[in-house]
Amino acid sequence: MKRHSRLFQLFAYTFLSLFAIINIVPLFWMVVNSFKKEQEYAADPFSFPKALQFSNYAKAWEVANMDVYFLNSIIITFASLIITVLLGALAAYFLSRFKFKLRGTTYSLFLLGMLVPIHATLIPIFLIMQKLHLLDTYWSLILPYTAFHLSLTIFILEGFMRSFPKDLEESGVVDGAGVYRIFWSIILPITRPALATVIILNFIYNWNEYLFALVLITSTELKTLPLGLSNFAGIETASLTLQMAALTIALIPILIFYLLLQKQLVNGMTAGAVKG
């Protein structure tokens, strides 16, 4: 189809390769050095390790409490994700398949949330959590994560559910099924592709979140991975190889996740950005 001149190709590949190198090298450099002894790294940060120091990993896992942070991140991420997607799907179902007064207003109200900057709510949320005695608990993160991602979740799911033909629920109505039964056994199963998108988006946003965790969580046993890592780096300033090992441990799962679900992630985050 398209033919490109040699000169264009040379320019394009040089530019793209340079860009790719700049994107990969910091990560690659970190992973390579995470296998070195500290002295070996200090002597030459660009050599390959003489022997692979897996002890860095064992030590980082221990010292940085990685197991605790991973577990907290998993619990908080998935709890928020499940609540957001369930409540969001339910709301999207009523907003898309029913006519009622205030339908439009409710929908617009939900969409407004995509414009709300987190920092403008941070102080009140901190004080609310304090009042409710939820400060420094899982709930202090689960509630904001849910609240702030309901908008995008409802936006995506409502748009998808709206596209179903109008007579879809009729068989259910004929069978005498209630509205919730229809939601659960007719609507939800065919919403699966959109559900996958919102689940992936909620996962990545919750997993990476830092600011709320910084403000609302103080005890080490409750810290999430981003918060724990940043604290660890602040303490272990002397041992960069240890930091690198800890970061690599946190990096690997997210890279695998990205490579496996790249298409949905890219499409979802692009949609989220453009609509937000």
Binding site: Y13, P26, A120, K166, N208, A250
Partner: protein, 291 residues
């Protein structure tokens, strides 16, 4: 559509939990922020209503204006760094070159990694003694170029800006790419028949076709620049001596380090106001250009 009996209750029950959490945690706090911004409160003693005092104090604080300046630097970095770079990358990737998929994957990767991890990695790159950058400079004989990148006020904002571009330009790249792929083939074919090729076609036809997307990205990049926090909090903590502090960090410090909740809330309202003003301004310019 549905006219089942008892549906109204079902609708209410279905929407209520989502609305409760959403309004209570995402919307009501904005009102509260506005309310707190007119008070003096440390969270313990009684809240005191003080009118516009917080705003007067903030606007006469030199440190605040320093953070405004730094926010502008970040904003400009986004506009002249991320967006043109994202656009050029998207234009190149849209040409059906071999290996485009690989470059797209690598380009979007930093967007998926948490900003905490991005910040910590760049902290290691910029580390004075053991960092990648200084060692690289030493290796190619440019020892005199070695710097304390994050600690020296001459380079600290530049260093942060580069990490900021690195972190986000992949997002703009894929948004542009999606827009480019939506241009119908006929447009390109017609352009080719008219003899418009290469750069000329890109400039005269492709760019105008995705003008809407460019505007979306500009607005998005501006509103993101006002939200930047993680990167700077972790890389420099706003230092040395507030030289890299941004408004969100100033707010965080006032509220959570100095326990001045009223003052901090006033800062957060100002951030909201500033970003609204800039975005309205950009939209206005854009509309006038169209008219």
């Amino acid at each position: 559509m549905q006219t089942l009996k008892g549906t109204r209750l079902a609708i209410f029950l279905g929407l209520f939990p989502a609305l409760l959490i959403y309004l209570g945690i995402a919307i009501v706090p904005i009102g509260l922020s506005l309310y707190f911004s007119f008070t003096n409160w440390d969270g313990i003693s009684a809240m005191k209503f003080i009118g516009f005092d917080n705003f007067v104090k903030i606007l006469s604080d030199d440190t605040f204006w320093l953070t405004v300046k730094n926010n502008l630097i970040i904003m400009v970095t986004g506009l002249i760094g991320q967006i043109p770079l994202g656009l050029v990358l998207a234009l190149l990737l849209n040409r059906g070159l071999k290996g485009s998929g690989f470059f797209r994957t690598v380009g979007f990767m930093p967007v998926v990694i948490s900003s905490v991890m991005v910040s910590l990695i760049w902290g290691m790159v910029y580390n004075t003694e053991y960092g990648m950058l200084n060692n690289l400079l030493g290796m190619i004989g440019l020892d005199s170029w070695k710097m304390n990148w994050l600690g020296d006020t001459r380079t600290s904002m530049l260093a942060i800006s580069i990490a900021y571009i690195w972190q986000n330009c992949g997002l703009y790249m894929v948004i542009f790419l999606a827009a480019l792929q939506n241009i119908p083939d006929e447009v390109n074919e017609a352009a080719e028949l008219d003899g418009a090729t290469g750069l000329k076609r890109t400039w005269r036809i492709t760019i105008p076709m995705i003008k809407g997307t460019i505007m979306v990205n500009v607005v998005y990049s501006i509103s993101n620049s006002f939200r930047v926090f993680d990167l700077i909090q972790i890389l420099t903590g706003g230092g040395p001596a507030h030289q890299t502090e941004v408004m969100t960090l100033y707010m965080y410090n006032s509220a959570f380090l100095n326990m001045r909740y009223g003052y901090g809330s006033a800062v957060s309202i100002l951030i909201l106001l500033f970003s609204l003003i800039v975005i309205t301004f950009v939209n206005r310019i854009n509309r006038e250009k169209d008219a």
